[in-house]
């Protein structure tokens, strides 16, 4: 068991209180039915692990408040929205590298771009 949690220690990774609230809101509204974190979850919406840096805070807030396309307008309180955005920021901080940051070798291994 501790074999596989080794390598998960990174500095500054523990969730703050606001981020923890966001996480609880995530669970209460079952975002996982449609979204993944680190690839785990439902597949209707995009993986949100990197959403914070890809889309920016203002966009995330707007999406949560009003919904967009197939993303429903969920009845979220302002606190929940702030928490969720903070939580996505935390996810982003420990996300795997983005497409621009990696290259694929011909034999199929992913490497960080020089």
């Amino acid at each position: 068991m501790f074999v596989y949690t080794r390598g998960t220690e990174r500095p500054g990774q523990a969730l703050s209180e606001t981020q923890m609230e966001g996480k609880l809101a995530w669970q209460k509204h079952n975002c996982s039915a449609c979204h993944q974190r680190f690839g785990l979850g439902g597949y209707m919406g995009p993986d949100l692990t990197r959403a914070y840096s890809r889309k920016g805070e203002a966009y995330l807030k707007a999406v949560l408040e009003f919904g967009v396309g197939n993303m429903p307008k969920l009845a979220l309180s302002d606190d929940e929205i702030d928490g969720l955005v903070a939580y996505m920021k935390a996810l982003d901080a420990c996300a795997p590298p983005a497409r621009e940051e990696v290259t694929f070798t011909w034999y199929g291994v992913v490497k960080p771009r020089e």
Binding site: Q13, N30, C34, G39, M44, N70, P72, V110
Partner: protein
């Protein structure tokens, strides 16, 4: 080898679980079609959406697999060990418990009361009910096995490992409630992936054990329960259960070497598994194939889906491809391809054996035959449309296209998947209706040769 004439009666709680499992499968299929409908023709704003239908469908799918395999083990355990069930009354209580809390979970999910975990999306309080349910199962199982005398054939080992493995992996999947894990996103995700991966290993143990036992019964070859090959497979699966999570953790940053070990073990296991069925079907004579036609067909179908899943798994385990496709419908194709193509095929075959195999009357006519082929053809179409949607998504997700646009463009593909899903549901329904209806009308062959 001579078969003794002695027979044991399948106990009513075992039959109850099997009947219940069939009911759950039908509900799973209906909810799956509804989820696919929500997916293809989403109407954000309505009260019952994909947010509800997906967790319901997935929870029911897991309940179909676990509930049915529990019933099957209860059914064959007495003849597999030569001992009566430890406590029929306890098994009956287990059944009542399962029904009661199963319904409660369905109500919670349908009404939008979520615990919000992936796959087990119900409120965490139900975890206690699930643990109690397994405890009841474990008491009865070990109570029965303890009375028999060793050495135990391979399937008894597999069941034993599956039950213990469940406690272990389920416990792990609950660790997120402890702050040490929930406060650290990477650690949490790793543990979660890991526990689900191993949990699949534990249900596979229960399913494969049941299947090996039934294959042995059909073949009438007692020694095969002790063959070297079968035990080798057992140890392979055991290793897989302990390590297979590795191949699920690519998207999580963490230690890497274990991924590659896990990958080799998982694929070896699957390859070995299809080989065992292939050998068995080669050895089986025409008369037995005829008498046990339904089990035979569904087991061989699992072999073929095993090949296809092996091919897909090989592809998506290449890190670069995994990097692109994870989180698309290719993953869904992998998940449903194996839960339907392998697990469900074996379980339907095993249900047929328990309901009709004792009397050797599994040749059930055109309805099963038609249903079988409709299921297989539809599943292939289903699988291919999911893979197609996944490839399209993987290519476009990286561009700046709005996600809803991709979904919109893929509508025809999801529409096709829906039609194929309806085909699977109709095909399975034909088979199940015949199996249950015939059994309910002629409940005599409730016995099982020892």
């Amino acid at each position: 080898m001579v078969r003794s004439r002695q027979t044991t009666r399948v106990t009513w709680p075992a039959l109850g679980f099997v009947y219940l499992g069939v009911g759950i499968l039908i509900a799973t299929l209906a909810l799956g079609c509804l989820a696919m409908f929500h997916f293809a023709f989403a109407s954000p704003g309505s009260r019952f959406t994909f947010q509800h239908s997906r967790p319901l469908h997935v929870s029911l799918a897991v309940a179909w697999i676990f509930g049915t395999v529990i019933g099957l083990v209860y059914a064959v355990l007495p003849s597999a060990t030569g001992r009566p069930l430890f406590s029929k009354r306890l098994a009956g209580f287990h059944l009542a418990w399962f029904v009661f809390f199963g319904l409660a979970i369905v109500v919670a999910l349908a009404s939008g009361s979520f615990g919000g975990r992936e796959y087990w999306a119900f409120p965490p309080i139900f975890a206690i009910a699930i643990l109690v349910s397994w405890l009841l199962f474990a008491i009865n199982f070990f109570g029965t096995v303890r009375r028999g005398k060793g050495p135990y054939p391979v399937y008894v080992w597999m069941w034993m490992t599956g039950i213990l493995g469940f406690f272990f992996t389920y416990g792990e999947s609950l660790l997120w409630m402890i702050p040490h894990f929930s406060g650290n996103p990477i650690r949490e995700a790793t543990v979660q992936w890991k526990s689900y991966g191993s949990m699949v290993g534990s249900w596979n143990m229960l399913i494969y054990g049941t299947q090996f036992y039934i294959m042995k019964q059909i073949e009438g070859e007692q020694a095969s329960g002790f063959s070297k090959k079968a035990f080798f497979f057992y140890f392979l699966s055991l290793t897989n259960m302990m390590f297979n999570w590795g191949h699920h953790t690519y998207p999580v940053p963490g230690s890497v070497w274990i991924d590659h070990v896990a990958y080799v073990i998982s694929l070896t296991e699957l390859a070995f598994f299809v080989k065992i069925i292939a050998d068995w079907s080669k050895r089986l004579d025409a008369a037995r194939k005829h008498r046990h036609n339904t089990s035979y067909r569904f087991f061989v179908a699992a072999e073929w889906w095993g090949y296809l899943n092996l091919a897909l798994a090989l592809l998506i385990s290449i890190p670069a491809i995994n990097w692109m496709t994870h989180g698309t419908h290719i993953t869904v194709a992998h998940a449903m391809g194996s839960t339907i193509g392998i697990n469900t095929m074996i379980l339907i075959g095993a249900v047929s054996y328990v309901l009709h195999g004792g009397a050797g009357q599994e040749h059930l006519g055109w309805q099963v035959s038609k249903g079988f082929w409709l299921t297989q053809v539809s599943l292939l179409a289903f699988f291919l449309s999911l893979v197609g949607a996944g490839v399209y998504n993987a290519v476009h997700e990286q561009s700046e296209v709005q996600h809803t646009m991709i979904l919109f463009q893929l509508k025809p593909v999801f529409g096709a998947a829906l039609v194929a899903g309806l085909g699977i549901a109709a095909g399975m329904f034909l088979v199940l209706a015949k199996l249950v209806w015939t059994h309910a009308r002629h409940p005599i062959p409730q016995t099982e040769p020892v």
